[in-house]
């Protein structure tokens, strides 16, 4: 594979989603070798390339607006998530932080039961256990689709919490959600 081809492949991979060092060694190497070229390519359309060496992932994000400069149309789509998926992401974000705080090396893997357990506290009281679990399954499936949970090979009902979650569910996103939720909680209490 020549360089130009490798570069093109790397650009396409990035457009398809997050690139992980451990899953896509060849793209990662291309990014290491000619990251500047890829960066320039995306800079012209207002997209920024983020390479995190330590966490081992690379992804694209919208370049922050710079005052006084004309902003380009937004290319990276924002998605409105459901309440349940949002809640799960927040709880997973916390688990990831705890995992790092405990100093355990390697990857954070949770079983389906553990995830259901995480969510249970925040589910309306229901005698219908099966419904709660079904709902959790749907929420998990959605989160997998978004790429924040990944299936673990050779183990059913085990999910790896991908570290990229930290980049996407950052303090800003959390603050917005917390604010809206607090406001809503106030309304509910008033009624």
């Amino acid at each position: 594979m020549n360089d130009e081809h490798a570069l093109g492949a790397a650009i396409i991979r990035l457009m398809q989603g997050v690139v992980y060092r451990e899953h896509d060694e060849s793209t990662w190497q291309t990014l290491q070798r000619s990251g500047a070229g890829v960066r320039d390519h995306f800079a012209t359309i207002g997209v920024e390339l983020v390479i995190d060496e330590i966490e081992g992932y690379a992804y694209l994000k919208s370049r922050p607006e710079i005052e006084g400069e004309d902003t380009l149309p937004r290319l990276v789509r924002r998605r409105a998530l459901t309440y349940n998926v949002s809640l799960l992401l927040v709880l997973l974000r916390k688990r990831l932080l705890e995992f790092e705080t405990s100093g355990t090396e390697g990857r954070l893997v949770l079983s389906r039961e553990e995830i259901v357990e995480l969510l249970r506290t925040f589910q309306p009281d229901s005698s219908n256990e099966a419904r709660t679990v079904d709902q959790a399954d749907r929420t998990i499936a959605k989160t997998v689709e978004l790429g924040f949970l990944g299936a673990v090979r050779g183990a059913r009902d085990q999910w790896e919490v991908r570290r990229i979650l930290k980049a996407y569910v950052d303090a800003q996103t959390l603050a917005d959600f917390a604010g809206k939720l607090r406001e809503y909680a106030g309304e509910v209490a008033d009624e």
Binding site: G56, R78, E100, Y168
Partner: protein
């Protein structure tokens, strides 16, 4: 030691708990052989499971009274899960970065229990002389190593030179003192014990590093003051890994071991020792220095990983972000509990990973569905001869009739031979009818064939009742539920 301390060790120390466990022989025999004796580090679950499966088979065959009632009935995976549970703690279970499979590694606690149990096996003789020499040598190192008076140093160095001079003179005079066989065995025993201990200690070294790391992280996470104070505290409290006693001793060992000349010297020495007649050399000790290097390398990797992550954890942005994130998560949790009876219909807005490109012309263009023509008027037919016979020649076997035949003959919850039923209700439609019996799918009937026996069924040919035919089929029984 005080009573309370011993009591708490007995309850909480994993090694002691293991010794009290009911299946301690299984745990130690397997984990000891697989991990400790073979000096394995982290190993993928599939390998461990396969080895344990073999081990369980052998052990069960040896200790169980009956095959149907094995002494250790659980699956290998279930045992591993038990042993890796927090309240057991004989195994460490984790997902290493860059690997999809769960890995297992024994803990220092298991190593301790195993080495204690092995010491219970009596030794034919216990060498004491070599240990005395070692002890004296250590004392010398401590005393002279801490003396900063140059004159005292010189006195000691000269004394050693005189000793060596005397030895040289003796050898020149033809007097070569040789260790006797007992002396050799004594020293070899001590060498073997120390060499193995060293290997076992690495696991504890790694575990200590992890403890240091965890202590540091907990401190970081719960820190309220400024970051400068935190750093001062971390370094000052010696929880800084590289600066800890553990870290420095290990680093010194590692540097010492890794020098080429040292490796070569060890190789030559070990080779010579293994060739001595006086001792029954342990094959595994022949290459013990490679095992040391490997284990040290593993520990070194752990340290590198840990300190890299710790550095990142302390990184300004991450540090601030983590605290902010924790604060926000708590806010979300509190609010989420408050709205639990009436969850909102909104969620977060998150950037979607990647950039979707949908090229309109990549999609197939609109393709009008082909209209199917339906003509309901039949074309007029002439008077040609149609082969209407074909339609009438179709034979239809009524399964309901066959089932009724069976029900008429066989009482509920009873069984009969198909040949007997046919004797009562002779076959009217030939082979098709026999096949019809075999294919019955009524819920209350079941048809079974026994290939080991044969039945002959005689029936009249449906086309010509004068001809008798015979069908040869397996013994068929019909039962009603």
């Amino acid at each position: 030691m005080e009573y309370g301390e011993i009591e708490s060790l007995r309850e909480r120390q994993a090694a002691w708990r293991l010794l009290r466990a009911g299946n301690v022989s299984l745990v130690l025999s397997f984990l000891g052989e697989f991990f400790v004796e073979a000096n394995r580090g982290a190993t993928p679950a599939s390998e461990v499971v396969a080895a344990l499966d073999d081990h369980l088979y052998v052990v069960n065959a040896a200790v169980s009274d009956r095959e149907a009632d094995p002494r250790f009935p659980k699956s290998p995976r279930a045992y591993l899960d038990d042993w890796a549970a927090t309240d057991a703690g004989y195994l460490r279970r984790f997902y290493p970065a860059g690997d999809e499979e769960v890995h297992y590694e024994v803990t220092a606690a298991l190593e301790k229990a195993y080495s204690w149990v092995t010491t219970l096996r009596g030794r034919s003789f216990v060498g004491t002389e070599s240990r005395l020499h070692t002890v004296v040598e250590l004392l010398r190192q401590i005393v002279h190593g801490t003396d900063d008076d140059p004159r005292a140093r010189l006195v000691e160095l000269r004394r050693r030179r005189d000793e060596i001079d005397a030895q040289i003179l003796a050898v020149e005079a033809g007097e070569v003192p040789v260790l006797d066989a007992t002396g050799v065995r004594d020293r070899y025993q001590q060498f073997a014990a120390t060499a193995r201990d060293l290997l076992a200690d690495f696991r504890e070294v790694e575990e200590n590093f992890r403890l240091l790391d965890r202590a540091a992280r907990e401190k970081i996470a719960g820190w309220d003051g400024s970051k400068g104070e935190l750093l001062a505290d971390l370094v000052g409290s010696r929880s800084d890994i590289a600066g800890s006693d553990q870290g420095r001793s290990f680093q010194a060992f590692y540097d010492f071991l890794l020098s080429d000349s040292r490796q070569e010297e060890l190789s030559v020495l070990l080779g010579k020792v293994a060739g001595l007649d006086e001792i029954d050399a342990d094959v595994r000790l022949r290459t013990i220095h490679h095992d040391w290097s490997e284990a040290a390398e593993r520990a070194q990797r752990t340290v590198r990983q840990i300190s890299e992550q710790l550095r990142r954890f302390l990184d300004d942005q991450v540090w601030l972000e983590n605290r902010r994130v924790l604060e926000l998560v708590r806010a979300v949790e509190t609010a989420a509990l408050a709205v639990r009876p009436a969850p909102p219909d909104f969620g977060m807005h998150v950037d979607q990973p990647g950039i979707d490109i949908v090229l309109p012309f990549e999609r197939p263009l609109y393709d009008p569905p082909a209209a199917a023509e339906v003509r309901s008027t039949m074309p007029e037919l002439g008077d040609e001869d149609l082969a209407a016979d074909l339609l009438f020649a179709q034979s239809f076997v009524d399964a309901a009739r066959l089932a009724a035949n069976i029900r008429a003959v066989v009482p509920e919850r009873a069984t009969a031979l198909l040949s007997d039923i046919i004797a009562m209700y002779p076959v009217e439609q030939g082979a098709a009818e026999i096949v019809g019996y075999l294919a019955l799918t009524d819920a209350d009937l079941s048809v079974e064939m026994d290939e080991s026996e044969e039945t002959l069924v005689e029936y009249a040919d449906p086309n010509d009742p004068a001809i008798r035919r015979r069908a040869r089929l397996p013994k068929v029984t019909v039962s009603r539920r």
